[in-house]
């Protein structure tokens, strides 16, 4: 079964860290690639040092952040400050198909592991750099963290309630988005290699992959010299379009009406057929004009109901509605569970926890998480001996010389 997976036999030497890069290579692991994360005890991946820790107890192998986004990978502990460490890294690259990294622009070259060096070791290697600003350009050496991609990309400038400053979106969106675009780019390069035999270098910029999400806002600027205004949860073409308070503490349901037909069904659904003939709400233009009154009416209906009740009623009427789910509700979600979305492999330090799994179900070569995220350096000996051909004695010497820290 495993050798049937789409990327079975493809090896990734994964020098990435934090989130964007590891998220890219996790996609490749989902598809069956052997992903080896090169880590070091001397500068531990940030996500191993950020909560949540299993049961609140800190530990390098106990963070849910790391364990969620490194599922299915192996871990090699290697000190790249030592020349012997660089030698081992080069041997691993020579035995790999793909090299990935997301240091700031230029750092990998200074380490002596730039593409020009690596392609001498393996002529058809595919290498992807995923720096925040990309590998070139006047700001390429700047420091970039994923959360900054949201404001830097322009997403914040068009997100927010009217009269409020630009808003963040609440999570480090630039990271996983950059990572997914990175995985896509690597797969495209693999297709190219299969057709031509040629490897190549890919320079991905997280900033640019974030801007790619805002095509229509840039178009507004380009066409009319004006970006879209911040309009909260509203939509220029649909009303109602928002989140409405429900019974309970900080409970909300999203409701969207996209057509006149759906508006009629909403009025029936909430048991107020009189609204359907109310001139204030007869067309989307009227509903936009009277949106405050419209939202007050709907809010008074949702406010005395649970989000689940509102969802069931409106969905039965043929109107799009869904609760604003919390992380707790997601882990308990019957629909996701029934689809087999959750992954609960036994991890040596944290046991079986409910991780998010693969969002695509393949019909023939089922792509699943095959093993939990690795403990730091857990595969070092196996990789050195089985893949790179070192003897147990040589590994012991390397370890004594602090090459494997």
């Amino acid at each position: 079964m495993e050798n049937q997976l789409p990327l079975a036999g493809i090896r990734v030497a994964d020098f990435t860290w934090v989130w964007a890069g590891p998220f890219a290579t996790m996609q490749l692991a989902h598809l069956g690639a052997e992903v080896i994360r090169i880590e070091t005890e001397n500068r531990v991946c940030v996500t191993r040092r950020i909560p949540p820790y299993a049961d609140g107890e800190p530990g390098l192998n106990r963070s849910g952040y790391y364990n969620q986004y490194n599922q299915g990978k192996s871990s090699l502990s290697l000190n790249l400050k030592k020349p012997e460490g660089i030698e081992i890294a080069k041997k691993l690259v020579a035995a790999s198909d793909i090299v990935s990294e997301n240091f700031a622009g230029g750092v990998i070259n200074k380490m002596g592991l730039g593409y020009e060096v690596l392609k001498q070791l393996k002529s058809d290697i595919i290498m992807i750099s995923m720096a925040g600003y990309g590998a070139t350009g006047p700001e390429s050496a700047y420091v970039s963290y994923g959360p900054a991609q949201v404001p830097m990309s322009g997403l914040s400038s068009v997100t927010g309630f009217p009269g409020f400053p630009p808003m963040h979106v609440g999570f480090s969106y630039g990271d996983p988005n950059g990572g997914l675009h990175g995985a896509f780019a690597v797969l495209a390069a693999l297709m190219h290699r299969a057709r031509t035999g040629e490897g190549q270098y890919i320079d991905l910029s997280q900033w640019e992959t974030s801007v790619a999400l805002l095509g229509e806002a840039l178009m507004a600027q380009e066409m009319n010299g004006e970006a879209p205004p911040r309009i909260g949860n509203h939509d220029e073409y649909m009303a109602p379009h928002g989140l409405f308070r429900c019974q309970g503490e900080d409970r909300w349901v999203s409701i969207v009406v996209a057509s006149e037909d759906e508006w009629q069904r909403l009025c029936q659904g909430i048991g107020q057929p009189g609204l359907a003939t109310d001139a204030r709400f007869a067309t989307v233009a009227e509903r936009k004009k009277n949106e405050d009154a419209l939202e007050a009416l709907i809010g008074s209906w949702t406010g005395v109901r649970t989000d689940a009740e509102v969802t069931q009623t409106l969905q039965a009427a043929g109107v799009a509605a869904f609760p604003a789910l919390t992380n707790k509700e997601l882990t308990e979600d019957k629909h996701l569970d029934e689809r087999g979305f959750f992954v609960e492999h036994e991890h040596p330090e944290v046991g079986a926890r409910r991780h998010a799994g693969v969002p695509w179900v393949f019909s023939e070569t089922l792509c699943q998480v095959r093993k939990p995220a690795p403990c730091l350096g857990q595969d070092t000996d196996d990789i050195l001996q089985d893949i790179l051909g070192y003897s147990a004695d040589e590994v012991a010497t390397l370890r004594a010389n602090e090459v494997l820290t």
Partner: protein, 410 residues
Amino acid sequence: MSDQSPTPHPSPPGPLHGIHVLECGHMVGAAYAAKLMADLGAEVIKIEEPGGDDARRRGPYPGNIFHPEKSGLFLYMNTNKLGVSLDLQHAKGQELFRRLAQDADLVVHNYPPAQMPARGLDYEELHKLNPRLVITSISPFGQTGPNRDYHAHDLTMWSAGGIVYLSGPSGREDLPPLKAFGQQAGMQAGVNAAVGSLGALFGRFKSGQGQHIDVSIQECLVAIMENNYISWPYDGTLASRLGFRLVPQDVLACRDGYIYVLAIEDHQWNGAVELMGNPEWASMDLFQDFPSRSGNWDVLKPLLEDYLQDKSVQETYHAAQARRVPFAPVSTMGDLLDSSHLSARGFFATIGHPEAGSLRYAGAPYKFSASPWALRSPAPCLGQHNVEIFGGRLGLGQAELDELRTTGVM
């Protein structure tokens, strides 16, 4: 009548040269997946039903005047594609779809789960005609499970995926959670569908077999919640926009715009203090380490605002970065188009369109050394390549094409 669009930037074939894709559906999910592939050299035939993609009926439009060929959303999402029109509710339209699928490598669509089977265009049917075909179906909740047929839009998916609950002004319990601009749920479904589709196409080199891929938008979003999803199963923390945050990480006002202040770790904070000229208040015990800075954000924030109010965004940004402090500008769309960094990287790409004219587009988010991204042609007008595809490719004669037109199939 094949339309030979001018090729402003001749370049080597993209990495997906030779791959044939059919795309159908509405808005951005399938369209973005196919755009990613088209921009890397795949041949994408976009099939639009009568009336065209819903994206044509959303702006922005030049001068804010509605025109189905000038939607900025549609123009951006559909670069480098061929466009045909086909009524898939009509038996003849379904037959032509099947004939196109016989020679395709991939079909990517975002119709609701029940729709393609009802038209005899689901995986089981198409697989019989073309065993090598990969079909990727994007849907709000996936092709199985109790919520499968729920109605959905981008906002309801941002809610169902757990993300909306994380966003909104902190401390404002009176305000609802806040949606991110645009069609972000659809965009994430698109890039996930593109990853899965290429994975299956690559696997086909070995297996020779196609397969079906079921992409759930909800799952695409749960998968990207940072450490917010996983905190419940790990330590039982409910993640919310109203919860605890490490600071400083916030959007603050300068004299000429907004800056994103990020200086959580001690070395970053020390750099920021130096940037501000080592003000006396910075040495107060209230701000001595990152937990205390976070705990005293209501005191710290006005002090930072006071410092920034007469400063320029760009000067502060570059001065902070010179000290390795990761401040970032809160870019407006105009700032992006003017960015010297993005411009030096050649990010924006310009191409003409017969109706909308010449425009700059967000361009290559990655640079391939051997087989580059390229903007080869603008989005198609509705049915622009009907004759080329149905006549030239499928060999229909003039009489048949005329009949397709008069019966409204095409």
